[in-house]
């Protein structure tokens, strides 16, 4: 874990003071709502349907147990005793009072946390692979440069009033678990032919009403040059990105209109200047940050671990949970546990303060004090000894989070939707809940295999429906909530955009429609190991369309 020094603490405290006086100037009327809006958004504060919503940054999804305890305390003290983990690895509180925000921010600062740049037209909280540091296929821990980027982008004087929001994601392994090609900038840590570690830079991906899989702009940027290259990317965007139309203001539109080659050329032209300006941080500073992410002191454990093997043999439900929810660890005798925040019929990503406290305690007992947040709205205990997995599973059962459904059809992403969000056209949460109930049978879930359903309540696509194997998009048609289906999206290293199947379904009919799609897949797959996505990519949309709309 990165630990603040005197400078990080000072800057965080100064930000609390600055925002506190901005809040009081709003309350006295010196600032109009229009003037206050970009200021509060830069602090993650939204005015929603019923109240203010505060989005707190969890940089690259990494939390200490102490921080998670504090987030739970805040849920109890300032909210209605629960909070919501988001697809950007952050946490949201939905019932916040404006005049309490300064106190809340001061509490966050006491555990080295903040809400900086979790909204607004600035560089947002950077996201990364949730298995950073523990995945066996990793080239370099993505948290190192994620923290470098967090610091560089914090209160960036030039890039705080961009044409539109700007999201950066980093993945450190060939397997992309951070959906980097759906980001404004995706950074893939790679090795070049000389064996040096560096960064492949993808620019101009995104969801929203114009989904784009980001093109590769630069195959290799050396570590020493990363920030100056990013600064050149951002400057070209800040100068030339569209500001006349909010729907065309993201960098994906600029890259598309210029063409990736021309955009890359303009960045190359800008780059010598940002390099000469001394934007890149010294190697010593990168090394200082990297030291915080050095591997912890793992025990030497020989596999197989007898107690673990015995527990799997004795309890088939446990063995199944291990199959879906425990990711291989690079160190023998350990596993990375994904805690599903998707209990059957629950609200995806929600956790009560009691549940958060319990998970924080488990992190201390079993996972070297660390917790991760995933972009699929689950939590991870990254460092659990295999011998402890059974105890972890039992404890998760006591708090209602032992669902063994990670990667299966009930591991659904859903945005807050019309239940909370002032932008939404339709409700998302009730659809997720009913789908979860429909597919509750775990035998059937395992038979269906890996299948990601992602639900957005409007075209802004916060629920990542474009990247869902089955995507569901809520739309408003003459006052009626309708749900459109897309198929074949993916957010991994084979990223693709889901294709719209046809007319939407009512809330009553959408669950049955998904069931038909699933049955169609089960009928046509060549063998049980052929996944839904593989089958769709093989046969295309026709049989699925036919199952929903009949022969045309």
């Amino acid at each position: 874990m990165y630990i603040y020094d005197q400078f990080d603490h000072a800057i965080t405290k100064e930000r609390v003071a600055e925002f506190s006086q901005q809040v009081s100037r709003r309350l006295t009327g010196e600032l109009s709502e229009e003037q206050f809006r970009p200021l509060r958004l830069m602090n993650g504060l939204y005015l929603q349907l019923h109240a203010y919503m505060l989005r707190v940054a969890i940089p690259y999804g990494t939390l200490s147990s102490k921080q998670l305890h504090k987030l739970a305390d805040i849920a109890k003290k300032y909210d209605r005793d629960y909070a919501h983990f988001t697809t950007r690895q952050n946490i949201q509180y939905n019932w916040i009072k404006l005049d309490q925000v300064p106190d809340l921010l001061a509490e966050l600062a006491s555990v080295e946390m903040h809400a900086n740049q979790t909204s607004g037209n600035c560089i947002r909280n950077v996201t990364a692979d949730q298995f950073a540091g523990v995945a066996g296929d990793e080239i370099e821990d993505p948290r190192i440069i994620s923290e470098v980027i967090r610091q560089w982008s914090t209160f960036h004087p030039e890039f705080s009033f961009l044409p539109r929001k700007f999201k950066i994601a980093v993945t450190g392994a060939p397997k992309d678990r951070a959906a980097i090609q759906y980001h404004d900038i995706g950074i893939h840590i790679v090795k070049n032919d000389a064996g040096e570690t560096g960064y492949a830079i993808y620019v101009g991906g995104g969801m929203g009403r114009t989904p784009v899989v980001a093109p590769l702009i630069k195959p290799f940027v050396a570590r020493a040059d990363l920030l100056s290259y990013l600064e050149a990317c951002l400057r070209v965007y800040n100068l030339h990105g569209r500001r006349d139309n909010i729907y065309k203001a993201r960098i994906k539109i600029l890259v598309r209109d210029l063409g990736p080659a021309e955009y890359a050329r303009q960045v190359e032209e800008m780059w010598p200047m940002t390099r000469a300006a001394g934007v890149d941080v010294p190697a010593g500073e990168v090394a200082r940050i990297a030291a915080f992410f050095a591997p912890p002191a793992y025990d030497k454990i020989l596999e197989p671990v007898a107690a673990f093997t015995a527990a799997k043999a004795k309890y088939s439900a446990f063995a199944r949970w291990v199959q879906t929810n425990v990711h291989p660890h690079k160190v023998p005798g350990y596993g990375a546990v994904t805690i599903s925040l998707k209990p059957i019929g629950g609200i995806p990503g929600d956790a009560s303060s009691a549940q958060m406290h319990a998970i924080a305690d488990m992190a201390d007992t079993y996972s070297l004090g660390e917790v991760r947040v995933t972009h699929v709205q689950n939590l991870v205990l990254p460092n659990v000894k295999q011998a402890d997995l059974f105890a972890v599973w039992q404890r998760l059962g006591e708090i209602g989070f032992a669902e063994g459904n990670v990667g299966l059809i009930t591991d659904i992403i859903a945005c807050p939707g019309l239940d909370y969000c002032s932008l939404a056209n339709a409700r998302s949460i009730p659809i997720a809940q009913r789908l979860s109930q429909k597919f509750a049978d775990l035998d059937r879930q395992h038979n269906i295999g890996p299948l990601q359903i992602k639900i957005s309540g409007c075209i802004n696509a916060c629920g990542h429906h474009h990247a869902g194997h089955i995507g569901i998009l809520g739309v408003d048609k003459a006052g009626v909530e309708l749900y459109q289906l897309t198929l074949g999206g993916a957010g991994d290293e084979t990223a693709s955009i889901g294709q719209l199947l046809g007319p939407g379904f009512t809330s009553e009919d959408i669950v049955g429609a998904v069931d038909k799609l699933v049955n169609t897949y089960l009928d046509l797959r060549e063998k049980p190991s052929e996944t839904f996505l593989e089958a769709y990519r093989r046969v295309g949309p026709a049989p699925f369309k036919e199952s929903l709309y009949g022969r045309r």
Binding site: Q151, L227, G284, A287
Partner: protein, 170 residues
């Protein structure tokens, strides 16, 4: 309208000229970019000091030949959300080595002046009721910065290396 710098109100010696207005001998005038391009010879010979107002979509390469003789460059922010001025400021200072006054005008708020200063701006045209207290507070809000900018302020990374000269080298 009033003009402030980072410390508070300053005198404004400049006269804004519409494109059809004549230039008085020895006057300090701010003209449009179009007029500068068309009349630069007579402007620089007649006026005492010349400034130019540039739009957000300016091509700075076109401005470059005039930079050594300009005494102020005025950058207009159409709305407080129009952040191009921040990049224009840095380009003028860091790429074109422009060294004279750089002034922001338009719809910015006191809280943005801090970032404009970091991007090379030196003066700001504001409404007469501009809250000077907010400006002073805003400018003093932070004691250190993470990133390099046009103001060449020492970065946190540099402070760290200085604070711990034996640590963290590789």
């Amino acid at each position: 309208m009033a003009v402030v710098d980072r410390n508070g109100p300053i005198a404004d010696a400049w006269t804004r000229l519409a494109d059809e207005e004549a230039v008085s001998k020895g006057a300090s005038v701010i003209v449009s970019f179009a007029r500068l391009k068309n009349e630069h010879n007579s402007l620089f010979s007649t006026a005492g000091a010349v400034g130019v107002e540039i739009p957000g979509d300016v091509n700075l390469d076109e401005l470059e030949p005039f930079l050594p003789r300009l005494s102020v460059i005025v950058v207009r922010m159409a709305t407080m959300r129009d952040g191009r001025a921040f990049s224009i400021g840095r380009l003028l200072r860091e790429r074109y080595s422009y060294g004279a006054d750089m002034r922001a005008v338009g719809d910015f708020i006191p809280d943005q002046i801090l970032f404009l200063l970091r991007c090379g701006f030196t003066s700001f045209e504001v409404k007469d009721n501009f809250p000077i207290d907010s400006l002073k507070r805003s400018v003093a809000a932070y004691t250190a910065w993470y990133q390099r900018a046009s103001d060449r302020a020492t970065t946190v990374a540099e402070l760290r290396q200085g604070a711990n000269p034996n640590g963290g080298t590789s």
